[in-house]
Assembly symmetry: C2
Homo-oligomer: 261 residues x 2
């Protein structure tokens, strides 16, 4: 099932709806992973503005989690490849979120902005101390993220605060899909319509059950948390006017234009 967070054009606040196979939105009151009921409102997808699927309570990110990306990033940045020995989760920040079709603004002093197409996991249930074989029980669904990064700041700054969390650097969407076949999924990133990066979404260094199991040994996951699972391959430097599309099999395509500040 597909859930979108939407608003009517011009409206400030929005709500959730189920998206059917005929591109109709069945609006609900409440959240998809919590109590909700149909409002009876039926809209056409073309008539609504798609919002960020959710503003996460905690915004987790695996960071380096595909071996090829680790080596390519290291070579490209002139640093030693540092393949993680254990699943240590990191964080991103909600100020940076933008929705499908919203612009990514390249800061005036940014010099090397790149894309990172990622699988995003949406948590639906409170979870603590989950064994790997039960880890997926707390997952509500999946969406797509673009972990936009400024590589110079990523090297120079003590944290990722502006390298990865400048306003608009975290496109997420377009919707949340509850049924997903990770094993057969492929992630494809297109730049101005042309496929530039392609990888098996499941080729992770540490898979999702490993992350969730290890995380919940020390922390409680909550409904509305998200986990971004990392990226593979490499991105060219992006420029104003570029359009980046991140597609994952079964999850749709997240499209954003990059613009100058």
């Amino acid at each position: 099932m597909r859930w979108i967070h939407f608003a009517l054009p011009g409206a400030d606040a929005g709500g959730y709806g189920r998206l059917d196979d005929e591109d109709r939105v069945h609006a609900v009151r409440g959240t998809p992973w919590g109590a909700h009921e149909n409002t009876g409102q039926l809209l056409r997808l073309a008539d609504v503005r798609i919002g960020v699927p959710l503003v996460p309570r905690t915004f987790y990110a695996a960071g380096l989690n595909y071996v090829k990306h680790i080596h390519e990033y290291a070579a490209h940045s002139g640093i030693a490849a540092n393949v993680p020995q254990q699943a240590d989760i990191g964080y991103r920040a909600v100020n940076a979120l933008v929705a499908h079709e919203e612009n990514v603004v390249i800061p005036a002093d940014a010099r090397q902005v790149e894309y990172e197409g990622e699988l995003v996991v949406v948590i639906g249930k409170k979870a603590r101390d989950l064994a790997p074989e039960r880890a997926l029980d707390c997952v509500f669904g999946y969406t797509i993220g673009n972990d936009v990064s400024e590589r110079i700041w990523q090297k120079s700054d003590r944290t990722f605060w502006r390298a990865k969390n400048a306003d608009t650097f975290k496109p997420m969407g377009p919707w949340i899909e509850t049924a997903f076949d990770l094993e057969n999924a492929e992630t494809t990133v297109r730049l101005n319509g042309e496929p530039r990066t392609r990888f098996r979404t499941a080729d992770m260094l540490f898979d999702l059950p490993t992350f969730i199991s290890r995380m919940t040994r020390y922390l409680t996951l909550h409904p509305g948390d998200v986990i971004w699972m990392g990226t593979d391959g490499q991105s060219p430097a992006l420029h104003p006017g570029d359009v980046v599309e991140v597609g994952i099999t079964g999850l749709g395509t997240l499209r954003n234009r990059f613009v100058a500040a």
Copy 2:
């Protein structure tokens, strides 16, 4: 003015109230930094349970921001002292928050848990591109935080996810004070009643206007964000049964007991 987030004993949900000089709580509907109105309910502080002052939208932390702490932490951990050259903000996670008087649970495999008493800044207004001289305009008030840290994990892990964000590792409170004299404030940390760490709260490497000005050059601060400003000095290793009190002049005292998992 002092604002507390409270609940009646046994109640799940709570609300905000103004705390007066006679320890009475004047309950409101809404948030202190947003629209709110008196409910007419008047309670005694002794009759309510004090909650976490707020669950921040984004949980910012300055990290290394007092020079003495940087040198002492480096010597203590056998690493080179790394004094930041610029105000790069970091993050903590809301899963770890506990209120005044709630327990900090030491994980079974933790070996070296320490306190870090910190000033906490609560943002009340949306802010972007603030010059240093206008930076404090977006601040609603101040509270106290204990940035509990496991030093072995802080060295071994790729991120601070469990070293600083294990469940219960982030006591915050007891309330939010809107009038605060930073220049004359002192932070005192007591262990089992005995003063162990004391420093001028204002002795920061990068002060609050510097952080806010630099942050808002790249990101939007939102009402309900918090910024933890770092700590000075050093902590002994803590053990089950220890009680840590962090006091800051004018802001009260945040007290938490450490217990075994």
